[in-house]
Amino acid sequence: MEGKNSRDYTAIFFCRQIDPDENTNRRALEKQLGRAIRFFPLPCSGRIEALHFLMAVETGAEKVYLVTCPEGSCRYSQGNVRAGKRLEYARGLLREIGLSAECLEITRAPGSLPLSIDTIARGLLGLPRKVK
C-alpha cells in the first residue's frame, strides 16, 4: 500500500475494558464525522504495537490517540505501562523520518470505569456532548 499525502482523520486506539459497550457507543460519532474518525478497540492497551501507530499515520491519520485504563486499573496489570513505552518507540520512528512525534498522544481514561468512549472521544476532539 502506498503512503497517502493527505492527513485527514483522527485515530483513537483504546482499551476495550474502558467501555464494554463501545460497539454501540461509538456509532453516533462515526455517523457524525464519517471518515474523519476511526476507532480501534484493543483487548488491552498494552497490546498496541509501534506498527499500529505507523500504519495509522501511513493511511492518513493526522492525530493518533491511545486511551489507556486509569493508573492501577489495568486488568492485565502492566499493559498501560507498556503501552506508554511502545508509544515512545513509535514516536522515535516517526522522528527518524522527519515527522512530528506529537501526532501520537497517550491519555488515560478520565475517571473510574466504565466510561463511554463517546464521552472520551468528544473530550479529545473538543466536541460538545451529544444531545440526548
Binding site: 502506498e2 499525502n5 506498527l51 505507523l54 501511513e58 520512528l93 527518524e96 523520518i97 522527519g98 515527522l99
Partner: protein, 222 residues
C-alpha cells in the same frame, strides 16, 4: 543468538538513494529474537519508507518478505524468482545473512539494514546481553562459566584489575566486573583454588584466523 540493531533510518535511506523498487528481506531466527530484523521489523521499516516517500512525493514500491533463515541457501533461494523484479534488496539479516544472500544473488545490490554486533542472550524481555565473542577456544569452565574475553572490558585472564569498584567495571559502571562475578561464583561453589595458578596467554590465532575462519565436516558434505 546473533544480536544486531537496526541502522538509523537516515543511513538506510542514504544507502537506498534513488532506488524505487525495494525488496525488504527479514530473517526469522536470531534477529527476530532480538527484535531487529524479523517480520515485524520488516513491516515497520517498510511503513517508514513508504510514509517518507509519500511526504517527498516520491513513488516507491516496497515488498516485504521474511525468510526462516537468511544464512542457509535453501531458504535464500526463495528470493531467486523475485529478486530481479527489484532494484535493490534491503536485508535485515545479520552480517552472515547479508553476505550469504549476496553470494546467491551476486548481481543484485544488497544493502545491510542492521549493524550486527555479537552473540548474546536474552537476559530479560527487551534486554540482550553479549556473552560470547567467538574466540574458538572455549575455556568457560575455568572461569565459572563467565567469559573473561567477552565480559571483562580488558579481557583479563588473571583479573580483576585495579579499577573494579563495588563489583562494577571501570570502563562501564553499568556493567558488573566480570572478575567479581567469577570470584563470587567460585567462592559460592568452593572452587577458588582454580585461579591460584597464572592462566597462560591465549592462543589468539583461534580467534583471528588467517582471514575468515572455516569449519568443514566431510560427513556433512554433499
Amino acid at each position: 543468538m546473533i544480536s544486531a540493531e537496526r541502522k538509523p533510518f537516515e543511513e538506510i535511506k542514504s544507502s537506498i538513494g534513488r532506488y524505487k523498487k525495494i525488496l525488504i528481506v527479514g530473517c526469522g531466527t536470531c534477529v527476530a529474537e532480538c527484535a531487529a530484523g524479523g517480520e515485524k521489523e520488516v513491516a515497520l521499516l517498510a511503513t517508514q519508507l513508504r510514509i517518507d516517500a509519500a511526504r517527498r512525493r516520491r513513488k516507491i514500491e516496497v515488498k516485504e518478505m521474511t525468510l526462516d533463515r537468511q544464512c542457509v541457501y535453501e531458504f535464500i533461494d526463495q528470493l531467486t524468482p523475485v529478486a530481479e523484479q527489484y532494484e535493490v534488496i534491503l536485508s535485515l539479516g545479520c552480517g552472515a545473512g547479508v553476505q550469504a544472500v549476496a553470494e546467491v544473488l551476486p548481481r543484485t545490490h544488497i544493502i545491510p539494514a542492521l549493524n550486527t554486533t555479537t552473540i548474546a542472550e536474552t537476559r530479560e524481555a527487551g534486554v540482550w546481553l553479549e556473552d560470547c565473542r567467538g574466540c574458538g577456544d572455549c575455556k568457560l569452565d575455568y572461569f565459572a562459566d563467565i567469559c573473561p574475553i567477552t565480559r571483562c572490558a580488558k579481557g583479563l585472564f588473571n583479573g580483576p584489575c585495579g579499577g573494579s569498584k563495588d563489583g562494577r567495571c571501570e570502563a562501564d559502571p553499568d556493567s558488573p566486573c566480570a572478575w567479581q562475578l567469577i570470584l563470587d561464583r567460585l567462592s559460592a561453589t568452593g572452587r577458588t583454588e582454580s585461579i591460584d595458578e597464572v592462566y597462560p596467554p591465549a592462543n589468539w590465532s583461534k580467534m583471528q584466523g588467517k582471514g575468515p575462519r572455516k569449519i568443514i565436516r566431510e560427513d556433512q558434505r554433499a
